[in-house]
């Protein structure tokens, strides 16, 4: 009985190490392949388009919704202490440091990470990745690198968009509904912020972009089992990357605020 339990635990630990090792190796190969030739500019531009331009509406809408609902809660909370003026300061702090990078990361893991997993998964089960190999093309270089670069560049840019939209989301509620002065809101929003906060948000979003692309590509690349496998890859990619975004957010916050 005890042996069977140890056996199961051992198998699970070995399986987890195997999975993590595989991810680490593929990630390492992806970064090593960034500097390899040939440089495929057209492929990279396509990825910028699908990762970046097509994600703008999703990021704008979610950032607006989250910043507005956060402003509603802040206004309610600070009203209990007759400190409504603080709401805009905390709104600025929350949007810049946490809401914008995390919401952008989570939304993009759902939008682009899953798309990457589904696309590469389909390519895997239809032997298109083997065809790349047979045409003497490294799939890591051809498929992973453009997605990784696009994601690491575009997620920070969309995070900046999210911060900007977050400002106006708070404005709509605190100025438009709660009746605060627009001038005061404009000043107070940035009061607790420093340039360092924007830098932290950018650093975080670069890491989130990296997680989204690597997890999405890895889950797609390791797809097996036909249609069922292709169906599971995006789900698994979104769950894994969302989890890692939230976990890494905690450690990055602790690390970067020191």
């Amino acid at each position: 009985m005890a042996l069977a339990v140890f056996d199961k635990i051992g198998t699970a630990v070995l399986g987890a190490m195997d999975t993590f090792g595989d991810f680490a190796v593929l990630s390492g190969r992806s970064f090593a392949a960034v500097f390899k030739r040939p440089f495929d500019g057209k492929n990279l531009l396509n990825q910028f388009n699908s990762v970046g331009v097509n994600s703008i509406p999703v990021v704008v809408l979610t950032s607006l919704a989250v910043s507005m609902v956060f402003a509603v809660q802040l206004a309610f909370g600070f009203r209990q202490f007759q400190a409504e003026g603080l709401a805009s300061q905390v709104e600025g702090l929350a949007v810049m440091r946490e809401l914008a990078p995390v919401i952008t990361g989570l939304m993009l893991s759902g939008r682009i990470g899953s798309a990457m997993a589904a696309e590469l998964g389909t390519m895997q089960v239809t032997e298109q990745i083997d065809a790349l190999e047979c045409l003497a093309t490294d799939p890591i270089h051809y498929l992973f690198v453009p997605r990784l670069l696009a994601s690491m560049l575009v997620v920070p840019l969309l995070t900046v968009v999210s911060i900007y939209v977050g400002f106006w989301g708070g404005y709509l509620i605190l100025v438009g509904v709660e009746g605060q002065s627009a001038y005061v809101y404009g000043n107070e929003f940035y009061k607790l912020l420093a340039f360092r906060d924007l830098r932290i948000a950018i650093y975080k979003s670069i890491v989130f972009g990296m997680i989204i692309a690597l997890v999405g590509c890895w889950k797609g690349y390791r797809t097996y089992g036909g249609a069922e496998g292709v169906g599971n890859a995006p789900t698994s990619s979104v769950v894994t990357s969302s989890l890692w975004i939230l976990i890494s957010d905690f450690f990055l916050t602790k690390l970067l605020l020191v």
Partner: protein, 259 residues
């Protein structure tokens, strides 16, 4: 020295032994057809030759280079001299026919766009697929996809062509068309070919030698006439296409008498 040398090749997936001590030699310019039932390791053999799988024991060498011992760059060099035609074509579905055929040329040759276009048109006309360059794979029929796959495989002017069940799932007429295309490619390009097929008609047309894989082992590798005359019961059963005999592991359902 044979161009492709398969020496004591064994490969298993978990407990299932797919190839067991297979030996095959293919000379330059020769056309080998590999026959065998489903799941007997024919595709695994091709994937070992391409270096997509690593043998458990034994080895495959191409032009004297042992595939499993090559590093990635050396392997890619060897792969440029081999054209692989996949069972379901494996065309890149996000690209047009032109982009599919031009893919290898653009990545491995410093050619002008005009040269690439000329070579793509040449390859497409060799497989009878002229004027389809703007179509996407989703707009092609099964037989057209296979032929575009052939065009993509020959674009880099390989010395070796590997065909993985090129006629599976096609109607008899299209099967004949594909057989003719393979024959044309063999004669016009003078390449060494290994073809995996279940279609005996085209197998006997294409082959200089025919091999039969049975339960992971190579039962015979002979000239078509000798293969036909081989008295081995498995070979004779395969040639007859009869369910009764030693070929199947599980006995087939009994034949119903027609009323």
């Amino acid at each position: 020295m044979p161009l492709i040398d398969v020496v004591n090749l064994s490969k298993a997936f978990g407990p299932k032994v797919v190839l067991s001590n297979v030996n095959l030699q293919v000379e330059e310019g020769e056309s080998l057809v590999v026959l065998g039932g489903s799941g007997t390791g024919k595709t695994v053999l091709l994937r070992n030759i391409m270096g997509l799988l690593t043998p458990d024991s034994g080895h495959v060498s191409v032009e004297g280079k042992i595939i499993a011992q090559l590093d990635r760059e050396e392997l890619f060099q060897v792969r440029q001299s081999i054209g692989m035609c996949f069972q379901m074509a494996a065309l890149f579905d996000s690209m047009t026919v032109f982009e599919n055929v031009a893919f290898g040329l653009r990545r491995h040759h410093k050619m002008t766009e005009a040269q690439v276009r000329a070579r793509v048109e040449e390859c497409l006309s060799l497989v009878g697929m002229k004027d389809t360059d703007k179509l996407k794979p989703a707009e092609l029929s099964g037989g057209m996809k296979r032929r575009v796959g052939f065009a993509r495989a020959i674009a880099l002017k390989p010395k070796i062509l590997l065909f993985d069940e090129p006629t599976t799932g096609l109607d008899p007429v299209m099967t004949d068309v594909i057989g003719r295309v393979i024959l044309d490619l063999k004669h016009e390009l003078g390449v060494t070919t290994i073809t995996i097929t279940h279609d005996l008609k085209s197998a006997f047309e294409i082959a200089d030698r025919i091999a039969l894989l049975f339960r992971g082992e190579c039962l015979a590798c002979q000239a078509p006439a000798d293969f036909k005359a081989n008295p081995h019961p498995v070979i004779q059963q395969f040639l007859r296409g009869d369910a009764d005999g030693p070929f199947l592991q599980d006995p087939p359902p009994p034949k119903r008498k027609s009323a």
